[in-house]
Subunit: 212 residues, 2 copies
């Protein structure tokens, strides 16, 4: 199952590094804790980092009702966005400077992000955002009050125009460079959780659902 | 020393989470391995993840001469961009769902990215990009050939309109929630280098400048 290839998702170069597989796209969106949301404000590019969660083919984006893109999306019923989610998997050291690179997976999705207005969808998305921090966390926390809902904005973006750029594996030196004396290889990188730091006054033991 | 506050860098909300200190901005740009470059293409927002390096008050962005934003920047002598660099420092578990959050540092810079055309500046920036992967790596690798230079584009962005959004520390529950039985605290996150994986045929020992 793949996403359709469109003008916006056709690469100008390095076509072998671009894919459209839905399962691979989902895996990146689900592993990443945050995303970068790009939009146009007064004709100029702008960006907002925020937290997201995927449910099926919909990505929900968390924001404040007072933030620029959320206000713009509400005023117009939707906001044209470009969503990018990048996971950095390693640094690539080639014998030549030119072939130095990074191993990464990056999902880019284009579309119109629309405010979530229906209460049932809002509650489902909000619980999923909290459960992403730890399966079961939504049930193990105090729910959202009407006053808090009024301060929170959720945008929904359908995954229709989506691509996955990635690089993996060893450096790709030219054959004539392979005998050069410089070390070549990959330094893997991983976003690693440390020991949980309990808040002052927290009597409960650290729950098993925390990332480790 | 701070960056001036402009319309583009004035927050709509949570003003206490936004700063303009140059040293703090530099530290984020220098720690992060990659950035997200947002631009406008045919009226719609677009994004490119790429690697960057900072030299003084200039950020250099690496790209291919064939990529969309690099072509656009060259055609027009510059491209209006929004650069974002985010470091995720932890996940924040509050007693209330509403106060769940993330600890992070995010630099957002607005400006016009221009192609680097002068050879001395190009060479200095390219060496800095390589040295960012390990101090001294540029000298310990094969330099860039004219043919490789022709395939590589560098953009320069002056740091003039810049802000740093950040959150740190414990969850910020409301006083009336502090006695709830749910665990609250922070799970720190850190991008951690693993054991270097040498490329096939690499006889040299792993150099000391690799990140560890």
């Amino acid at each position: 199952m793949t996403y359709p290839v469109t003008a916006a998702t056709t690469p100008h170069r390095l076509r072998d590094r671009v894919g459209y597989d839905r399962a691979a796209v989902h895996a990146v969106l689900d592993e990443a804790w945050y995303c970068h949301l790009a939009f146009v404000a007064d004709g100029a590019p702008a960006q907002l980092p925020t937290m997201h969660v995927r449910l099926g083919e919909t990505v929900y984006l968390h924001g404040s009702t007072g933030s620029g893109p959320m206000l713009a999306a509400r005023a117009a019923g939707g906001l044209r966005v470009c969503l990018a989610v990048t996971l950095l998997d390693g640094l690539v050291y080639a014998r030549s400077q030119f072939h130095h690179s990074a191993n990464f997976r990056c999902v880019v999705a284009h579309g119109t992000a629309a405010p979530v207005t229906e209460a049932a969808e809002r509650d489902r998305a909000f619980a999923a955002l909290v459960d992403k921090l730890g399966p079961g966390r939504a049930a193990d926390s105090r729910g959202v009050s009407p006053r808090e809902h009024a301060q929170t904005a959720l945008l929904r973006l359908e995954l229709t125009e989506v691509s996955l750029k990635s690089r993996a594996g060893a450096p790709a030196d030219d054959p004539e460079d392979l005998d050069l004396p410089h070390w070549a290889g990959v330094v893997p990188l991983r976003l690693t959780p440390g020991t949980p730091v309990p808040d002052a006054g927290t009597a409960a033991p650290a729950p098993a659902y925390l990332p480790s």
